[in-house]
């Protein structure tokens, strides 16, 4: 029973990690919290859903379409709300508030189109088969979710560490001014970060839709809350921290539902967040922040 819960937790946590990895990358590179990341997630889920039901595509093309759609939304967000604020010197909260505005716009347009009801992916979208490993039942769906999430995350880490563009992204995250002096096109790096982070959010949307077998227009809110908890847990801007934080949250939620009460599931993430901020604001893996005089 316990190991079964661990398998469920892994599927849940992997998606949280996938969502948070882009969220934290945006913070690390651009030093903003985009509160539209939940809306991007929802857009991704609906794009995947539309591809699956209207065009009858399989899971991989659906994921690609979803990532393209949410990446495009990320591009537009940067163009409309974030880039103009970068140009001028504004209050550090301005981009966050601008993304709240964008999230409201996107969500209400989707609510206009799709209404408030729940949608489901086609019945046989992922074959309903079970696998057994040493007494632990894993559905093909769970395996798909875990596998896809980790492949994407490994790709991201590989990209950041091994490719020229990835190194540019990391250099800008370290210090945008030095990056610019080294001849890195900082603006392009920002755009690119928004696109790739948003596309990861979109993929997380499709996988969440599959995991719970339901998508709806207000699914962005809860995941955004969890994303915030995860990136603070892992240390803001820390990619590996976000992965670990997502898994920790997944386990904490599943175990608290299994062994305490399902009523408090939504409070687990924020309980954790609240605690970590009191004890160690820089996150579990973050370096201790020194107060500067």
């Amino acid at each position: 029973m316990f190991y079964q819960q661990l398998a469920n937790a892994l599927a849940l946590g992997a998606v949280y990690s996938l969502f948070a990895i882009g969220f934290t990358l945006i913070f690390g590179v651009m030093e903003i919290i985009t509160l539209a990341h939940g809306a991007v997630f929802m857009v991704g889920a609906f794009a995947g859903y539309t591809a699956a039901t209207k065009f009858g595509l399989g899971i991989i093309p659906c994921l690609i379409i979803s990532m393209a759609a949410s990446g495009f939304i990320g591009f537009v967000l940067d163009l409309v709300a974030i880039r103009p604020l970068r140009k001028k010197k504004f209050h550090h909260l301005a981009p966050m508030i601008a993304t709240i505005g964008c999230a409201t716009i996107i969500t209400s347009i989707y609510q206009g189109i799709f209404g408030a009801e729940a949608y489901r992916f086609p019945f046989d979208f992922v074959p309903n088969e079970n696998y057994e490993f040493r007494g632990i039942q894993l559905t093909q769906l769970q395996l798909t979710i875990i596998f896809t999430s980790f492949i994407l995350m490994i790709m991201m880490i590989f990209f950041l560490n091994k490719t020229k563009w990835g190194k540019a992204v990391r250099a800008v995250a370290e210090n945008s001014r030095t990056g610019a002096l080294l001849g890195i096109p900082v603006e392009r790096v920002y755009q690119f970060t928004m696109i790739i982070s948003s596309s990861f959010g979109g993929a997380a949307g499709v996988l969440t839709g599959l995991n719970f077998n339901t998508i709806h227009t207000f699914m962005g809110g809860p995941i955004l809350h969890r994303g915030i908890a995860v990136i603070i847990l892992g240390g803001m801007g820390d990619i590996r921290g976000a992965m670990a934080g997502g898994l920790i949250l997944g386990f904490a939620e599943v175990l608290s539902v299994a062994y305490i009460s399902s009523d408090f599931r939504d409070a687990v993430s924020f309980g954790l967040l609240f605690l970590i901020l009191l004890i160690r604001p820089s996150g579990i893996f973050g370096k201790k922040i020194e107060r500067k005089g």
Binding site: K288, E290, R291, G293
Partner: protein
């Protein structure tokens, strides 16, 4: 007046200040010089309570002020300015000085809510005093302007005025010449000497040795977190350790 006893400070394994000892006599201008990164500002941050020392004590007029909160140290009579000028840019000059006088106001919240006589009287009296302080640094005509409209040199002066407003006995001045041209620097040094002649003790940080030589009675030299020499300007000028660690490097850099 101020005795710094064996102050040590570590930043994550790195020793930024190592067993710093010195004493400032009342009524003097004491200069601390040293190359950039020697730990000068860290020392000021520790004296003014923004950082806690890893070890050692700071005694101010026989009271141990080590580890007190910044506002308590200000109340004890130590005030400071910042290397990168931290005036309140969106407030007027007068308001900047009034913020410095914060603890001199004694009226209560009730007095504020009902505009009692005490509040009106204090606000009026201290406003007049704030003008006087601004006139010490010759900025009283601009009292109603926003601080951001001032030139760089004037902002430095305003910061000095704001430090005076807390009624300190000792003022810590952090690299006043940073970012200023020679003429502005000279004017500001004159300002500091005049403030000193009003019975304020001053401790000055500077990395440009020439600036402090003329006005300080005693100078301490900080290098890599250690006090390597102390004495009168002439003694410092001729100290081989100082020449090697500091002047030599400065000349090759120039």
């Amino acid at each position: 007046m101020l005795r710094v006893e064996n102050i040590t400070r570590d930043f994550g394994g790195l020793r930024v200040l190592d067993d710093v000892i010195f004493e400032i006599e009342e009524g003097t201008i004491y200069g601390i010089i040293g190359p950039n990164g020697a730990g000068k500002t860290t020392l000021f941050n520790i004296i003014s309570g923004l950082l806690k020392p890893t070890g050692g004590r700071i005694i101010f007029n026989t009271i141990d002020i080590t580890g007190l909160k910044p506002h308590a140290i200000t109340a004890a009579g130590i005030s400071r300015t910042f290397q990168n000028i931290r005036i309140f840019k969106e407030m007027t000059l007068l308001e900047n000085v009034l913020v410095g006088m914060h603890r001199l106001f004694s009226y209560s919240a009730v007095s504020m809510l009902f505009e009692l006589k005490k509040k009106r009287r204090e606000e009026k009296e201290l406003r007049e005093k704030a003008y006087d302080i601004l006139s010490i640094v010759r900025l009283s005509e601009k009292a109603g302007l926003k601080a951001e409209s001032l030139s760089y040199g004037e902002q430095r002066k305003l910061e000095l005025a704001r430090a005076l407003a807390t009624e300190p006995k000792l003022i810590l001045v952090d690299e006043p010449a940073a970012g200023m041209n020679p003429a502005e620097t000279e004017e500001l040094m004159g300002e500091i000497v005049r403030i000193n002649s009003r019975k304020y003790t001053i401790c000055l940080i500077e990395h440009d040795m020439k600036v402090v030589m003329g006005i300080c009675r005693r100078i301490g030299v900080l290098n890599f977190g250690k006090f390597i020499a102390q004495g009168s300007p002439d003694e410092i000028k001729n100290n081989p350790l100082v020449i090697e660690a500091y002047l030599g490097r400065d000349e090759t850099g120039a």
